[in-house]
Structures are given as structure tokens and as C-alpha cells.
């Protein structure tokens, strides 16, 4: 391909050209805001990862020798709060979504660029609150803030931390709003709904959840603060309230939030699988509508977190049946991805390795979700390490893997440079091995009955914790490697052509890195997405290979 010359000619006027601090902090360019998010979430991820590492090391001894119980409790709270609200939820949507949504649909920017910047500031303000609450002493409620513990017994820092999540929540509401309007109104001429890349469909569904679920979390957290400060108790049994009401409202947000944390990963994988098997996606409509179905049905299943919470058996039954139904669209996606490989022409670059890892880990995560949706089995597994293992398979095995895949895939577009391919592949394999070693033993631990959030544990669980900690250290290396080589490549990497992967999609029709307004002129869309037959024909002419 000969696009290298074009790129170097245009590099002087890309969106990265300006270097002043002000040009970053006051930018309204969706690409720059994406980079602001990228740097911020890496920062929060680092703190949360250190917390996780300390917990894993402490768990090497059954009596938890590294840290005191109260420190341990604070560590898992920091880990949960930062990972959920300050890493996973913004990871793919606010970084990759912000960067590529406007380019994928052929727009110059999102619909409300200033609002987009405001989202980032709210996010950072929320993050500052949370970090502050950690510095002044930490909170030990767990990321779930269950009442009445959080409102009456935990230390008052819980107010600061809740305020942080509250503020960041508005950031994510505005991001969701921006994406919805952008996807509705900013599409280039010819870009009909069913010509949209599947990544857009998944982020549209994600945005629906962000917009409709987050406000309920906000009001619930507000109620916690009010209850904590003035002792007015809608959640306090001594004042006529009900702590289980808190759980209903919390999970009304937090269960859909689980889909905020996996749908974007599914979107990325849909892009990667089709690109690296050089084939049109199998079952476009089914993948697209399964995203929307997950977003909608995902709102109806929150009670499966509460089977043993003293919720009524009959409500539990309704939630259980709906939980089995919400598993179906996920299954549809997995089968369609597999079918896409059929008669493809598959290569195994780093993003593809991550995509294949995603399918594997997500499938295990999804299947173990069925165990937890089955009421009788959930009685044994609820609040044990089985749950920990299950949702880490979804969120780390799924979302983080998807994020890494997407980051490598779009890295040439973002930075204008190629990352080192061999290191990339090694890191992907190391992550996969480390991840499984870290989290698979926890399934066994959970079935044996080890409850979560335990600083110390009976000695017969020891061996599984040792395995898990060993895996975590491998996993840590797997995450450190990309951090180092990506930063290195942003400066020293080989210059990237406009379309290094030979991918379809509008974002590849503009130079890497793209100019300020993304496109020289507004593109006109005439084809369905993922039409690899044309690109393939050209490639076969050049290389003689199929």
C-alpha cells in the first residue's frame, strides 16, 4: 500500500500538532478528549491495580499478614470503586468511543464538543474526590456501599467517596447523551442505520444504559449521603426504612452497568474479528439487535443479585427467568463471531489475538453467569469467590481484553505510529495465561464456600490463593508490557499508513493521525459495512496470496 507518503505529507497538520498545555486542557476535539481520558484512566487503573496487588500478596497467607483487616477492606473498596467507575465504564466508551465514533460515521466531531470536555472535567473532579477520600483515610464499605453499614457504621469518608462517584456519574450521563445524539444526527450522507459499524451499535446501546440507569445511581448515592449526614432513614430499618430498597435501587443501576462494561467490548470484537478474517460479519442484524436487546433486557434482571437478600421468592423467580433470557443475545453474538471465521482469510496480529481471547474468556464468564442465575445454585455461590471469578472473566477477560484489542487496533490511527508487533503478541499471550491462572482457581474456591471480602481464611483454601497470586504477577507483567511499548512507540514507532490493517470503515480513509476535522471533505457512504471482498481482491493482486 502506498499511503505512507500521503501520511507523512499531512502529519504536520494533524490533530496532534499543537503542543501547548492549554490546547489540551481546553480542547473540544473529540480525539484530544479521548486522549485526556486515556491518560486519566491509565492513572486510575494504576492505583486500582496496586490495591489489587496488595490484596493478592496479603492473601498469600491464610491469616493475611501483609495488611490489617481494616486496610484490606479499604483496599478492595478502592479497587472496586476505581476499577468500575473510573476505569471500566469510561474505558472503551470514553476513550475508543470518543476517538472513533465521529470518524466511523463520517462526522467532524461529536454533536456537543463542549459538553464532551465538560464530561471529562466532571470525571476528573469525581476522581479527585475519590482519591481525596482515600488519602484522608479511605472507605471500607466495598464498592456496593450496602446500607446500613455505609450509612451508620462506616467512617464518614464514605460521603466524599460517594460524592466522587456522584459527580463522575454526571460525566458519564453527558457522554452517553452526546453519543446518542451524535449517532442519531451526525451520520455522513449515505450512512444509514444498517450501514453503521457494529461498534456503533454497541456504543449506542451502552449510551442508552448510561443515560437511563446512571441517574438512579446518582439519586441513591445522594440518599446515602443525606442519610449519613442527617440520619434520615429511607434505608435504615430503625427509622422505618428498608436496607433492601437500597439494594434494589443500587442494582437497578449496577446490573445494567455490567452491560456498560461489556457491550463496548463486544463492539470492538465485532470489528476485529471481521477485519482480521477479511470477511463480512456473519449475521450483522442479529449482532446489532442483540446489543439493543441486551441493553433493554439488562434492565429487567437486577434482582438476581438479591436471591438470598430476603427478597421475595416470587420476585426472585421473575428475575431468574429474565436473567436466563438476557443470556440468549450474548450467545447469539458468540456464535456469529465464530461463524464469521468460516471461509475467512485469517491473520493473527495482536488485536486478533485479543479478540480470540475475548471470545474464550467472555464465553466462560457468560456460562458461569448461568450458575448464578440459577436460583438454587446461587444460594451456594452468592457472595463467594465464584462471583469474583465470574465477573472478572466478564470485566477483565471481556472488557479489558476488548479494550486492549481495540487500543492496539486503533493505536496507529490514534498515535500515527505502529506498535511493535512481536511484543504485542507476546503481551497478549502473557495476559491470557496470567489471567486464567489468576481467576480460574477462584471458581473452585467459590464452590468450596470461601466468601468474598475476607482478609483471612481457613487454611484449606490456601493453595488456590497461592495459584491466584502467582497468576496475578504474570497478569501484571502482561499489562505493564503494553504500557511501556505503547508509550515508546508513540514517539519512536514506525510511521503508520492511513490504513495499516486494510480494514473497511471510514476511520481508515483518513490519514493517521487524522486532521483536526477528521476528513478533508465529508465522506459519502455507498456500501454496506465490512465489504472485504473488494479489498481482498486488491490484496490478492499485490501478494498472490489468499
Amino acid at each position: 500500500m502506498s499511503s505512507v507518503q500521503e501520511t507523512s505529507g499531512l502529519a504536520a497538520e494533524s490533530y496532534l500538532t499543537e503542543h501547548t498545555v492549554g490546547s489540551w486542557l481546553l480542547t473540544t476535539d473529540h480525539k484530544r478528549i479521548a486522549i485526556l481520558y486515556l491518560v486519566s484512566i491509565v492513572f486510575f487503573f494504576a492505583i486500582a491495580a496496586v490495591a489489587a496487588a496488595m490484596m493478592r500478596v496479603s492473601l498469600l497467607w491464610p491469616d493475611g499478614r501483609l495488611v490489617l483487616p481494616e486496610t484490606y477492606n479499604k483496599l478492595f473498596t478502592i479497587h472496586g470503586v476505581l476499577m468500575v467507575w473510573f476505569f471500566l465504564i469510561p474505558s472503551i466508551p470514553a476513550v475508543l468511543g470518543n476517538f472513533v465514533i465521529p470518524m466511523m460515521i463520517g462526522a467532524r466531531d461529536v454533536a456537543f464538543p463542549k459538553l464532551n470536555l465538560l464530561s471529562w472535567y466532571l470525571f476528573m473532579l469525581g476522581g479527585a474526590f475519590v482519591v481525596y477520600s482515600v488519602i484522608v483515610g479511605g472507605v471500607d464499605t466495598g464498592w456496593t456501599f450496602y446500607t446500613p453499614y455505609s450509612t451508620t457504621f462506616a467512617n464518614p469518608n464514605v460521603i466524599t467517596m460517594v460524592a466522587g462517584v456522584f459527580v463522575a456519574g454526571f460525566g458519564s450521563i453527558l457522554t452517553g447523551l452526546n453519543f446518542i445524539v451524535t449517532i442519531h444526527k451526525m451520520r455522513a450522507p449515505g450512512m444509514t442505520w444498517f450501514r453503521l459499524p457494529l461498534f456503533i451499535w454497541s456504543l449506542y446501546s451502552t449510551s442508552l444504559i448510561l443515560v437511563l440507569a446512571t441517574p438512579v445511581l446518582a439519586i441513591t448515592l445522594l440518599a446515602i449521603s443525606v442519610e449519613r449526614i442527617w440520619g434520615l432513614g429511607i434505608f435504615d430499618p430503625n427509622l422505618g426504612g428498608d436496607p433492601v430498597l437500597f439494594q434494589h435501587m443500587f442494582w437497578f443501576y449496577s446490573h445494567p452497568a455490567v452491560y456498560i462494561m461489556i457491550l463496548p467490548g463486544m463492539g470492538v470484537v465485532s470489528e476485529l474479528i471481521t477485519c482480521f478474517s477479511r470477511k463480512k460479519i456473519f449475521g450483522y442484524y442479529f449482532i446489532a439487535f442483540s446489543s439493543v436487546a441486551i441493553a433493554v433486557v439488562g434492565f429487567l434482571v437486577w434482582g438476581h443479585h438479591m436471591f438470598v437478600s430476603s427478597q421475595s421468592m416470587y420476585a426472585g423467580m421473575v428475575f431468574s427467568i429474565l436473567s436466563f433470557i438476557v443470556a440468549v443475545p450474548s450467545a447469539i453474538k458468540v456464535f456469529n463471531w465464530t461463524a464469521t471465521l468460516y471461509k475467512g482469510s485469517i491473520t493473527f496480529e495482536t488485536p486478533m489475538l485479543y479478540a480470540l481471547a475475548f471470545i474464550g474468556l467472555f464465553t466462560i464468564g457468560g456460562l458461569t453467569g448461568l450458575f448464578l442465575a440459577a436460583m438454587a445454585v446461587d444460594v451456594q455461590l452468592h457472595d463467594t469467590y465464584f462471583v469474583i471469578a465470574h465477573f472478572h472473566y466478564i470485566m477483565v477477560g471481556g472488557m479489558v481484553t476488548g479494550f486492549m484489542g481495540g487500543l492496539h487496533y486503533w493505536w496507529p490511527k490514534i498515535s500515527g505510529r505502529m506498535y511493535p508487533e512481536l511484543l504485542g503478541r507476546i503481551a497478549a499471550v502473557v495476559t491470557f495465561v496470567g489471567f486464567n491462572l489468576t481467576f480460574f482457581p477462584l471458581f473452585v474456591l467459590g464452590y468450596l464456600g470461601q466468601p468474598r471480602r475476607y482478609h483471612s481464611y481457613p487454611p484449606e483454601f490456601h493453595i488456590f490463593h497461592v495459584l491466584s497470586t502467582a497468576g496475578a504477577s504474570i497478569l501484571g507483567i502482561g499489562y505493564l508490557m503494553p504500557l511501556i511499548y505503547l508509550v515508546w512507540s508513540a514517539r519512536y514507532g514506525e510511521r503508520a499508513p492511513a490504513n495499516p490493517w486494510g480494514a473497511t470503515g471510514l476511520e481508515w480513509r483518513t490519514p493517521s493521525p487524522p486532521p483536526r476535522d477528521n476528513f478533508e471533505e465529508t465522506p459519502l457512504v455507498t456500501d454496506d459495512p465490512y465489504d472485504y471482498s473488494a479489498i481482498e481482491a486488491e490484496l490478492i493482486d499485490q501478494t498472490g496470496l489468499r
Binding site: P69, E70, N73, D140, G142, Y146, Y149, T152, F153, N238, P243, S277, F282, F307, V308, S310, M313, G316, M317, S320, I321, F324, I325, V328, A331, I332, T338, L341, K343, G344, S345, I346, F348, L356, I359, I364, L367, L370, F371, A374, M375, A376, V377, V379, Q380, H382, D383, V444, Y447, L448, G449, Q450, P451, R453, H455, P459, E460, I463, S533, R546
Partner: protein
């Protein structure tokens, strides 16, 4: 480092739960095979540069889609029904169960047998006999989890939850608190001692307090002044408690409730919220004056009056 891969299974419920667990495990392995079999096969066969036939397939896409939508749905519904059936069984105590009351507090379990024996972080039970735990918490939410019995239930302040099991194997098994409850959550560990009925009787006698829960409740009934109004000789117009437990109570306003543990607890602690029809709101609240264990003793006493004939003097 001794370790197991499967937890001990020591209750009548355990087998039912394990059956679903292993069925799901089998199903998972099966699905992983049908996803990863083709995935690996395609990845190898259709790798770039291989000589595989890549003529565009003529497939009726929708047939595949319908297949892999309908089949997972049907399997899901099957598992749901099976697991829900077992769940209802786990959640519904049989009527002949021995009763034990449990109060959770940061960070210990206080248990009291109907015979009056009290324990902390230990629960002695006979083999082959259904045991029903009535549980509440003094502070935050706890959770009474016995992995060997496959039972778990949150223990919520302000209300009663129940859990039941029939132990099938003599031995000592863990009780874990499974709901995060504060600093020493991980030390809130207790033991169930499953004994032969003979040993259990001996244990009851040697550790007995001399009074059953009901008699302790009766003592309390007189001591804190309940008998002043609800007693047989009282002049005050208050509901009689003989024959009350388990029966219907018509309320002021037309509603009818059942006089269960929850109703009696609420009547003691929040007397104004449910006034029995024909009575005035005279009773003071005992919230803060009685501990959760004491309320449970009063309930045991009122329950013991259930079999006595209710006096005909009710309005």
C-alpha cells in the same frame, strides 16, 4: 497444604444443589466445545495463505440464527425451572422443624435453642432432624452461610429471615458470614456440630440453662410489664395472647394479617403501626428497651400460648 476440590456435602439439600451445579458444568463444557472446536478448526484451516476453499458460501443465515437463538433459550428455561424448584424447596422450612433463633452482630453469632441452650459461634444440631433458623441482626446485614449444607441467607436488621436444613453427616462444618459487615468480617466464622441424636440430647442436658426459651420469655413477660395489660387478670382492654400465634388478626382499617413472628415483633417494637381491630393505640414501643434475643424469647412464649384456648372475652 490439605485441600479439596469439592465441598463436603452434609445436608439433604446438598445433593439437589450439586446435581444442578454439575449439570451446568457439563453444559458449560459442552458449549465451550461447540464454540472452540469450530473456532480452532476455522482459525487453522482458514489462516492466511492456506489452500482452503474460500468460495463464498451459500448459506441460509437465518436458519443458523434461529437455531442458536431457540436452543439456548429452551435450555435456559429448563435450567431455570429445575433451579427454581429446588430453590423453593430450600427456602420453605418443613413444619416439624426444630427451632433455633440466631442473632447476628458485629462480629459474632448468638444462637439460642428452643430448649433454652445458648451458644456463640457454635451450633449443635442432631442428625436427620430438620432445623429451622429464625434470624435477625442487631446492626448491619450479615449472612448465615453453611457451605456444607448449601444454604445461605442474609440476616437483615429490622426483620426476620429463615433458613432450614437437615444434616446428614456427623461432623464439624464452617459457618461463614457471607455479607460484608465491617472490619472483622472475615473473623465472623462459626461452626456447626452435627451430632447423633443421643449425643445431642446429652449435650442439651449438660449445657442446659434450666429454662426453655418460652419460660425465659414468660419471665420477661412479667418482668418488663407486658403482663400488666396482656395478663389474664388485667383490667386494661388489651388483646389476649392465648391462641393468638399463627391465627388471623383483623386490624383497625379492615386489613387481616397473620400473627407470625414478624407481626409479633412489629407489635412489640412498633405497636402503633398495626392496631388490632377494636383496641386503642395505648401500647408503648419497646424499641431500644428489649434486645433482639429478648424479643425472640417473648415470641417463643407467645408461640407457646398458641395451643391454649383463647378466652372468649374478646370483643
Amino acid at each position: 497444604m490439605p485441600f479439596h476440590l469439592i465441598p463436603p456435602s452434609a445436608s439433604t439439600n446438598a445433593g439437589d444443589v450439586d446435581a444442578i451445579f454439575w449439570a451446568l458444568t457439563g453444559l458449560s463444557v459442552f458449549i465451550l466445545t461447540i464454540v472452540f472446536g469450530p473456532l480452532t478448526y476455522f482459525a487453522v484451516k482458514y489462516r492466511r495463505g492456506s489452500k482452503a476453499d474460500r468460495t463464498p458460501p451459500r448459506l441460509a443465515t437465518w436458519k443458523f440464527e434461529v437455531t442458536w437463538t431457540i436452543i439456548p433459550f429452551i435450555i435456559g428455561m429448563g435450567i431455570f425451572a429445575w433451579a427454581a424448584d429446588v430453590f423453593f424447596h430450600i427456602e420453605t422450612p418443613p413444619s416439624n422443624a426444630l427451632e433455633v433463633d440466631v442473632v447476628g452482630k458485629q462480629w459474632m453469632w448468638k444462637l439460642q435453642h428452643a430448649e433454652g441452650n445458648r451458644e456463640i459461634n457454635e451450633l449443635h444440631v442432631p442428625i436427620g432432624q430438620p432445623i429451622k433458623l429464625t434470624m435477625t441482626s442487631q446492626d448491619v446485614i450479615h449472612d448465615f452461610f453453611i457451605p456444607a449444607f448449601r444454604v445461605k441467607q442474609d440476616v437483615v436488621p429490622g426483620r426476620y429471615t429463615t433458613e432450614w436444613f437437615t444434616a446428614t453427616k456427623v461432623g464439624r462444618y464452617y459457618i461463614f458470614c457471607a455479607q460484608f459487615c465491617g472490619t472483622s468480617h472475615s473473623s465472623m466464622i462459626g461452626w456447626v456440630d452435627v451430632m447423633h441424636p443421643v449425643d445431642y440430647q446429652r449435650w442439651l442436658v449438660t449445657t442446659g440453662q434450666g429454662e426453655t426459651m418460652a419460660t425465659a420469655g414468660q419471665r420477661l413477660f412479667n418482668q418488663v410489664g407486658c403482663s400488666g395489660c396482656h395478663g389474664v387478670s388485667s383490667k386494661i382492654h388489651a388483646p389476649r395472647l392465648e391462641g393468638l400465634y399463627g391465627g388471623p388478626v383483623p386490624l383497625e382499617g379492615g386489613q387481616v394479617v397473620t400473627a407470625d413472628d414478624k407481626y409479633i415483633r412489629d407489635s412489640i417494637l412498633l405497636p402503633a403501626s398495626q392496631i388490632a381491630a377494636g383496641y386503642q393505640n395505648l401500647m408503648p414501643s419497646f424499641a431500644g428497651r428489649l434486645s433482639e434475643d429478648e424479643v425472640m424469647q417473648l415470641i417463643a412464649y407467645i408461640k407457646s400460648l398458641a395451643s391454649e384456648p383463647s378466652p372468649g372475652s374478646n370483643p
